[in-house]
């Protein structure tokens, strides 16, 4: 299954120390994300990816090497429930 996130124009972001505050324009909902959720969101906003591709890009681009497949699935589920990521 592939996942998709809104492109950057749909999000308003503000870095707040260890967190990123995100205003999601289509919903008007504010989210406070930490790593690696914000990196996941950024990658999926560029193009839809499946779990394996996402894991590889996270390691490649952000040095998030310790992410396991299970942990990633849990983060993705949270993002899907929040409406930030849509399974295709």
């Amino acid at each position: 299954m592939r996942y998709r996130a809104p492109d950057a124009a749909a999000l308003l972001t503000a870095e707040l120390d260890a967190f990123t505050a995100i205003f999601h324009r289509p919903s008007g909902i504010t989210h406070l994300l930490a790593s690696p959720a914000r990196e996941i969101l950024a990658l999926l906003g560029e193009e839809p990816l499946d779990g394996d591709m996402l894991l590889a890009r996270l390691a490649d681009r952000y040095d998030v090497a310790d992410a396991t497949r299970d942990a990633l699935a849990a983060r993705l589920d949270e993002l899907v429930v929040a409406g930030l990521v849509e399974p295709l």
Partner: protein, 328 residues
């Protein structure tokens, strides 16, 4: 006594407002009738006192946030129901903004109302519960009442977004004396291109009329009539009479047209241009709001309240319902 006629006139003909209008009275009436956002869009761009313009700009911004939130609820319902592969038709305010109707401009939108086939109701319910919606009230009497007698599931609220969804399988309760053709509503709905659809232009009007007269106690009646005025402005009213007859809602639709014409100068066929018996009472009811936002004409209001229950249920049931409600 001052009533909401000032608001109806302002909506119908914004240019007619004088600079020395009782602005606070107009604004308060509009707020109380949930029409401030609508009024704010109607008056946008006209020369207004500065404070009035500022207040209405706030109301437009607020309505825009509301529009966005309503469309998002529809989108989340779409995502939850997409695997079921059943038609999902948006109703009322959400439908107006999704379809870009004039009726959606500035409209306040509360719950997300959707229409699905009755046969799919159980699957829809399960899918929504799995996607984070919960029952609003776990009261067994109310639940049994809804399932047995209503045209919708008991209301569901989303756990984190705190927004309600009403899932309908038709547009009037099975106990009402009129049974609209739910299959035709679904069959003729117009796709929005994202997996959701809205009722056809004629059905939008017929539904609004049904909701106003055959179901409700006319609370929010002025807003409903404004919806109908806008829907006619969008698409005209050709073919409306035939469609209303098909659903058994000729009387309700004709009355809505007469009241709209009287209140808003809505363009209607010649036979709907004069008021008929009983219309005056309806006008008294939909305009029963004073310039302090207070409900007025309590006797008229109560008459319509009783009538709404009468229409919905046979008398014995009505007694049982009022009794159960009263005992608590």
């Amino acid at each position: 006594m001052a009533d909401a006629l000032i608001l109806a006139r302002a909506l119908a003909d914004p240019q007619s407002l004088a600079l020395d209008t009782d602005w606070i009275g107009l604004i308060t009436t509009a707020r109380a009738e949930q029409l401030l956002g609508t009024l704010a869009y109607r008056l946008d761009g006209l020369p207004l006192p500065e404070d009035v313009a500022l207040l209405l700009a706030d109301a437009r911004a607020s309505a825009e946030n509301g529009r966005r939130a309503a469309l998002w609820e529809a989108e989340m319902a779409r995502r939850a129901l997409a695997p079921l592969d059943c038609p999902v038709v948006l109703l009322k305010g959400t439908a107006f903004v999704a379809a870009g109707s004039l009726a959606g401009r500035g409209r306040s939108i509360g719950d997300c109302d959707i229409l699905v086939p009755r046969a799919a109701l159980d699957r829809v319910e399960a899918a929504l519960l799995a996607a984070g919606w919960e029952w609003v009230k776990p009261d067994p009497y109310d639940d049994a009442y809804y399932r047995r007698w209503m045209h919708e599931l008991p209301p569901l609220i989303h756990r984190t977004r705190d927004r309600m969804i009403d899932v309908h399988h038709t547009i009037l309760p099975p106990t009402a004396r009129i049974t609209p053709d739910a299959a035709a509503l679904l069959a003729d709905a117009e796709p929005l291109g994202n997996g959701l659809s809205v009722l056809s232009p004629r059905d939008l009007i017929v539904h609004a009329a049904a909701h106003l007269f055959a179901d409700g106690d006319l609370a929010g009646g002025l807003r409903n009539l404004w919806d109908i005025h806008c829907l006619i402005d969008d698409h005209g009213s050709d073919g409306l009479a035939a469609r209303a007859a098909h659903h058994g809602l000729t009387r309700e639709t004709a009355r809505a047209l007469r009241l709209c014409h009287r209140l808003f100068d809505t363009p209607v066929a010649p036979e709907h241009r004069d008021l008929r018996g009983g219309d005056a009472l309806y006008l008294r009811r939909v305009l029963a709001r004073d310039d302090w936002g207070r409900p007025i004409r309590p006797a008229t209001r109560f008459a319509f309240y009783v009538r709404s229950h009468w229409l919905r249920m046979p008398p014995a049931m009505l007694a049982r319902h009022l009794w159960t409600k009263w005992r608590r």
